[in-house]
Every structure is written in C-alpha cells, then in structure tokens.
Amino acid sequence: MSEKPDEQNERVWDPLVRLTHWTIALAVVLNGFIIDEDALAHIWIGYAALSLLALRLLWGLIGTENAKFTSFPISFSGAARHVSGLMRGQHPKYKSHNPLGALMVYALWGTLLVVSATGVMLENELFPENDAEYSGQFEEEEEEEEDHDEGGEDLIEEIHEGAANLLLLLAALHVGGVILESRLSGRNLVRAMISGPRS
C-alpha cells in the first residue's frame, strides 16, 4: 500500500508519468487561458490532452508500481488522516501520491474526462446542423459556433464550459496543495515531478 513510509531517495515518478503530467498541464493551460475556444488549435489540443490522459489511465493499469491506481486508492479516511497528521506536524513519506493528493488526482482526471468527452461531442457534431457535408471540417467548426440553436448542443457546451472551469479551479487547488505540502514536509514535490527523484 501507499502508506508505507520510504526512507530512500528514490525516483518516484517514471518518465511516462512525468511526460503525461506536464503535457496535460500544458494543454489545460493553453486551452483554458491562451488559445481562443473557437480556434481549430483548441480542438487539436483537446484531442492531445484526451489521448495523453488515456495513455496515463492505461499506465495506471499496467504501469510501474507508483503509477498504478492500486498504489493510490480513493480513501477519504486516509485523506482525513493525512490532513490531521500534517496539522500535528507529521510528514509521512509516500511512495506514490499521498491520500489527499490521490483524491485530487482522481478529481482532475474525472473532470478532464468530462471536459474532453463533451469537447469531442461538440467537435464530432453528434447534433449536426448541416449533415452529411464532409466538406471542410474547419468551416463547420466556425459555423457551429455561430448558430448553435439546438438544445442538445447547448447543454453539452454548458457542461463543457462548466467542467472546464471546474478543471481550472481544481488545477489551481492542486498547485496550491503541492506548494503547501512541499513547504510543510520540506520535500520538493515539484522537482520530483520534473526530474524524478524526491528527496
């Protein structure tokens, strides 16, 4: 289990975890803040994020020990224990995510799945306006935004935007949590995600 304290300074995150983490983070920042939501790049970046998430989830099943879901199970009691431990100044070392961080991970993944799924639905035009016209996906994208008068698509768009905002909020909390945890425990969690070793 993940609660085994680990004394050694070993590499905690394998290359795949690190790569998917930072590329997805980049995609979220790009699509959330920088790229215009009507731009074609928004769609491509969304697809990229979805595929990287899919890869990470696959890795959660067959990957290395620390990357596996079983190493950081959803545990609300564990998270509560972790928080009360931090309050009392205890900083147990976890091989994988700490229980509170694990909850955040699943929340982020879930939200990201909703965002990408609704994004794909919008792009694939499951509720198409001008059907069976294969001519130029690009033009369709632009038209799609101009006259979206169908209720189904509106709802999906609402969900997409709502989930996207939630994702950004969670991401901000995640960053705050990482900074706080690093401060309290004196371990640089950011460096562990960049270069591997966590001291």
Binding site: D14, P15, R18, Y47, L52, L55, L58, G63, N124, A132
Partner: protein, 179 residues
C-alpha cells in the same frame, strides 16, 4: 568495480525509457485521432473499405501502445532492479570497509587515504584531493599497508574482494546484478 558498467547500463536504460515515453505519447495521440476519425467516418458513411481500414489501423495502434507500455514497464523494473542490486552491493562493500578499517585501527585521515586508494586514486591525486603534501600521503599509505599487513595497493584491494566473494549464499539472496 563493475559499478560504473552497471551505472552506464542504467543510464542507457533511462534514456531508452524517456524515448519510449515520448513514442508512447505520440502513439496515444495517433490512436485517439484515428478513433475519432473512424467514429466520424462510421457516422457519416457507415462501414466501408476506408473506415474499415482506418478501424484496423486504430486497433493496431492501440495494441501497439499497450505492448509499448508493457515494454516500458520492463525497462523501468530492470532499472529498479539494477539500482537495488548495486546499492546492496556497494552498501555491503562499504560495511566491510568500515569493519576492516576499525579492525586495523586506522586513524580518520588514514582511513580516508585508504578509501581513496581503493577507489584507484594515486598518491598525487590523493594529495591534491586532501590538500596535503605527497610525502604525507605516502607516509599515511605506508602506515595503512603496515596495519593491514599488505605491501601494495593490489593486495589491499584483494583483501576486500576476497571477503566479498566468500559469501556467495548471502549475496544471491539479495538478487543478482546481472539480469
């Protein structure tokens, strides 16, 4: 020591793992794009040669990604194994060094000189590293040899190698360094 050789191999494996992670990411990207494309084609034109072929491609990509991931895990666990074996081996070696040095009653500076010698540094190197005169180092080394009852660097090293090779049973239980 074969440590540097092992380290080299670990480094190569690490590089391989990083490259594989990138390839896997690209494969995942390609898979999702193909799946989306197939989905769109099926929705628009139904199953035909084109969408069928793309479907196969998508499937092959997914299977390839899964196998790539498995290979990635193998490489990473090989790295982990090698590192563990190496740290166990070097840990044992340093334990042994400490015990012997204490037995021989080496002073702290003599112990340091002896350690440098075991690592393969010559007298000039050691003098430079310790900021001491070569004559001092030579004298200290002579004392080390006398206390260890050996007459050369080779013999000094051999006393440790001999001890490490004497307990193969213990060593095999900690896992081999070679796959």
């Amino acid at each position: 020591m074969e440590g540097s050789e092992t380290k080299k191999r670990i480094k190569a494996d690490r590089r391989r793992a990083s490259i594989l992670a990138m390839v896997l990411s690209l494969q995942a990207l390609a898979s999702v794009f193909f799946i989306a494309d197939v989905g769109q084609d099926l929705q628009r034109g139904g199953l035909d040669l084109h969408s069928g072929f793309e479907g196969v491609v998508a499937l092959v990509l997914i299977v390839g990604t899964a196998f790539g991931s498995l290979q990635m895990r193998q490489i990473l666990s090989r790295i982990h194994q090698a590192e563990t074996a190496m740290s166990v081996a070097s840990g044992a070696f340093f334990d042994l060094i400490e015990v012997r040095f204490a037995e021989w009653g080496l002073t702290p500076s003599e112990a340091e000189v002896a350690l440098f010698t075991l690592k393969g540094l010559d007298i000039a190197d050691i003098a430079a590293a310790r900021g001491a005169a070569q004559g001092t180092v030579r004298a200290q080394l002579a004392k080390v040899y006398a206390k260890a009852r050996v007459s050369s660097r080779g013999q000094l090293t051999s006393t440790f190698i001999e001890d490490l090779l004497m307990s193969p049973n213990e060593r095999s239980s900690t896992g081999p360094a070679e796959p």
